[in-house]
Amino acid sequence: MKGIKGLESFSVCRTFILKSMFIFLALLVGQWFVMAGCGENPYRQGQDLYIVHCENCHMRDGSGLGKLIPALDASKLTLSDPGKLICLIRKGLPVNKQTGQQMPANTILNDVEMTNLINFLGSKYSSNPQTVQVEAVKKLLSACQTE
């Protein structure tokens, strides 16, 4: 208490303490917002990656486009198998003779991004979602490239 009383005599220090308290409070509030954000959607980066890399064709709601682009909820088999899904995204699909459409290969997602993306897809569209870790994704990716 004595220390604080001493400080009070210096107005500069008082402002400093007030400022510090304000910043501390701001940080607390900020952290609360961040935590609330995470609580709402645990696959936030995966979702962002989906928007950038997949949404143009598969649509925001995963509904696809007629027979030209498949809807994601119709692909439950692939989505529940992370290995197949990873290879599908990395290698794409050749031109389908019935539709003339092809799925482009995505070679730019790194291991962490791929992990986040497939965990998001699994959580949203798979009947039997499995969460995978980066280490597993690395192995699956290299297995898919040597096939």
């Binding site: 949404e55 143009n56 649509m59 486009l65 007629g66 019935q98 003339g100 459409q101 482009p104």
Partner: protein, 192 residues
């Protein structure tokens, strides 16, 4: 303007010329096109109909699928309305042959009596896009070589451009429904 609904009177977009005392609105040229069944057509041959138009190409990996999805919403809404025609112009004359367009239409699952997929002479299609106020550029650095805007254009039965929306934005298209309805009300005072 554009996607915002103007319930009273839709504007005429583009330059307005006064020639010998007459006011002449901007008019989309009536170029010769070829549809997915190799039929030669001009939009004037549709008769008394308003037209929803866009520019796309079948192998487009960027915005086209989204725009076509929104065109599909418009198609569903005006499917039974004989006063409305839909036309999608390919900007990729090299790859989108008549048979490719036909296959695309079939897999999209639409009635090609209502929704035409057309090609034509490349320069005249690019010029047509310009007249519809849609920007289309051949750009080797863009995905699959084309850079274009995803606008959906509303043309009245006199080939005047009366509205547009951004086909990449579902909300803009929802607002556009009102624009289309307003034009129908204006041009067809009594519903057939």
């Amino acid at each position: 303007m554009g996607c915002v609904s103007e319930p009273k009177q839709l504007p005429h977009l583009g330059n307005i010329e006064i020639i010998k005392g007459d006011t002449i609105y901007h008019t989309v040229p009536d170029v010769t096109l070829t549809d997915q069944d190799s039929q030669v057509l001009k939009i004037s041959s549709f008769g008394d109909k308003i037209i929803l138009a866009d520019f796309f190409f079948t192998s487009c990996p960027s915005i086209c699928p989204r725009v076509q999805k929104e065109m599909l919403r418009l198609y569903d809404r005006y499917k039974e309305d004989d006063r409305v025609m839909i036309i999608s112009h390919t900007i990729d004359q090299r790859n989108d042959s008549v048979s490719v367009l036909k296959r695309y239409a079939y897999n999209l699952g639409v009635d090609t009596e209502k929704w035409k997929f057309v090609t034509g002479v490349k320069d005249s299609i690019f010029d047509l896009a310009d007249q519809y106020f849609v920007s289309v550029v051949e750009d080797p650095t863009a995905p699959m070589g084309f850079d274009h805007s995803g606008r959906i254009i509303l043309v009245d039965k006199n080939r005047h451009v009366r509205g547009y929306c951004e086909g990449t934005d579902p909300e803009s298209v929802t607002a556009f429904f009102k624009t289309v309805d307003a034009l129908l009300k204006e041009q067809f005072p009594k519903k057939p």
